[in-house]
Each structure stands twice: as structure tokens, then as C-alpha cells.
Symmetry: C3
Subunit: 141 residues, 3 copies
């Protein structure tokens, strides 16, 4: 399977909470970072997800917001992942940022070029990848 | 009504399942392809959605991931739609892919240019449009 | 806190409805415009959200669809916000639109350049920013 999503992070399911339609699933990466995903109960069952199962968090770069000096207590997004800016590639309208989040993993984000300039994002900066749990798909192999 | 979303697919509602807040709605395109959407119960009622009603699935190109050799059993996204790459337009940061999904319909996706290169996506390739149900809006006329 | 999301709109929480997993939260901007957000109950509690609390609606530009002649009765998105096009910046694949929504607020959207041409979007046009509630994060300071 090859998919265009820039962020495919392998981890282990550590928690599943199910509602009537939606389920919140937590994945722990080898580095200890937790990633939350909201999918339907039906998909969780179809994939056979349960605690201890290996799974991938799949995140499209356009779903990732970049932050600086972010406190998780202040923002609703379930995923606020600290890292170091590894690459900044600017275009005319859009730009691409690669964040090293440790444990050999990176998170790529496409944001507007104006935001890169406004935030003065540059290689070496401490920054955060902010991702709403509804933007995280899960995959199994 | 004119909207910027590149993908507006007409179909017929075939199934609605409601939770407390959210509802999963299935639409069948004339080609037989099913599209799932997650919207609020309130919106489903406001639009008068029920089995047999004509509706449109509205999907922003940036919400569409492209895949190759994808098995739906392996990924949580409810919408994994097979097609043939009809057009690849590359930019500096972003690229645009048009996928012919049959029945006269296409799905347009904006992905990063790096992904186009990594996946070696080209006209004529068999590929899949992958869309999370939470990224699908519904419209009625 | 600095974040890349182009749209950070300050308002006051006016309504919270909770399900088992997800909650719908309504924010009223000083101009009277309402913004709906769907987040998890857990995040709503973590942020201390309740009626009367000041909060920010945070919306990534790529989550905003642009519309013209849109009737809210016809589309599932909870947020359909009327405004006047203030700026159109075209790129090769993507374009950026700034919509003045009154009360000193703007909403920025990144859409494909093809959509700008197809919709003939230009400065001064009456247009709508369309945002699915699941794409709206909330923040508090």
C-alpha cells in the first residue's frame, strides 16, 4: 500500500473508547508520544483494533497546524506534538514544514507561506504539530 | 449555488444511522459507488435527509488522499474509491490529481508534489481516492 | 501562543450539547455571527468550556470552502458565513482568498486556483466561507 499522506506513524493501540457512532482510539508511538484518532465504531471493528494491536496513524500534511509556545491546556486539539523544525520549504501560496518529533519520526505540515513568515518559522525552532483527532486515520498491515 | 469544493457528486441516500450528536449517512452514486458522510443529526434533519432522497457529497480536494494498491480492510477511512488517474498537474509545493472513478464522475485531490514523485503517480495509473467520512459534507438542491 | 492557522476568531461560548464521545459547541462572535465546533467531551472539559466563557474558534485556511449564492438550507456544513471578498492571491495550484465577515474579522481560505477561475471570485464579491464543524478547533487563553 502506497498512500500520498505524508505522515504514517507506527504505534500500538493503548485505549479505545466507543460511543454510539464514533470511537476515540489512542495509539502510543515507540517514543512514548500518544496520538488520538476519532473514527467510526464500524471502522474500528473492521480493522480489528484493540489494545495491544500494532496500527498506523495516517495524517495528511494539510491537516497539520504548526504552533509555537503552545500549551495543550489551551487548545481543543487532542494531538499537540512537540518537535524541532527540520526543514522549511517555501512556495508562492503554500509552504511545507518538516518537524522532527523524536524516535526517528517526523511530521510534515503544509501551511500557508504567509504563516511561515508571520511565525518566523525556521530550521532548529522548537515547534508543535497540532492535529485534530478527527483528522487522524488509522491503518493496519 | 457555486462552491469552491472540487468534488460534488450526486447520489441517493441509502442509509442513515444516528447517534446522540453525529449521524453516518450513506449515499449511492449512479455508478454504484457508495460514499459515507458523518454530519450532525441536526444537519441531517435540517436537510430533510432520508433514504431515497437525492443529495450531493461535497468533498474539498485537500481532504482527498491518493493511494495505490490499497485494501479497504487496512485503513479506517470509510471512502476508498477506485479509479484511473486522468490528470496530474504539478506545482512547487502542491499538485493536483484528477481521478476518473467511472459513471462520468471524477475526484480531484490536492496532495504535496513530493507525494506525486514518491508514488510515481502518472496518467493511466490505477489509484484510489481515500476520504474520511468526517470530511464529506452533504448538500441538497 | 502562535499558531499557523490563519483564522482565530474570538467569541463567547453560548451553547454546549454533549453526546457520549463528541460535543457540539456554539461560539458567538462580537458581530453576532455564530460558529459551531465539534470536539470531544474530554477536550471540552479540559478547556473548561461552558456558556459565557471566552474562547477562540481556530480554523485552518485549507478547511474553508468558498461559496457564492449559498443557501444554508441546502448544505450540511454548520458554518456558512457571509462576507465580502477582500483579497484574492493566485498561485499555480492553490490560491488564497480573504473574506471580510464584518465586526473587524476576516476568514482566509486556501482553495485551488482552478476554483477561483471557475467561480470568477474577485475583490468586492459577496461570498460565503463554508466550514464543517468538525474542522473547527477551540482555544482558550
Amino acid at each position: 500500500m502506497k498512500i500520498s499522506a505524508r505522515n504514517i506513524l507506527e504505534g500500538t493501540v493503548s485505549d479505545i473508547r466507543k460511543g454510539q457512532i464514533m470511537a476515540v482510539i489512542k495509539l502510543i508511538l515507540p517514543s512514548g508520544t500518544a496520538i488520538s484518532s476519532i473514527i467510526t465504531n464500524e471502522s474500528a471493528e473492521r480493522l480489528g483494533l484493540k489494545s495491544g494491536v500494532k496500527a498506523y496513524a495516517i495524517i495528511k500534511a494539510s491537516s497539520v497546524i504548526m504552533g509555537k509556545e503552545v500549551a495543550s491546556i489551551n487548545i481543543s486539539a487532542r494531538n499537540i506534538i512537540k518537535g524541532t523544525v527540520q526543514k522549511v520549504k517555501e512556495g508562492m501560496i503554500m509552504a511545507e514544514i518538516v518537524l522532527d518529533i523524536g524516535g526517528g519520526n517526523t511530521i510534515t505540515s503544509t501551511i500557508s507561506d504567509d504563516s511561515v513568515k508571520r511565525m518566523e518559522l525556521k530550521v532548529g525552532d522548537e515547534a508543535y504539530a497540532i492535529v485534530k483527532a478527527t483528522s487522524v486515520m488509522l491503518g493496519v498491515s
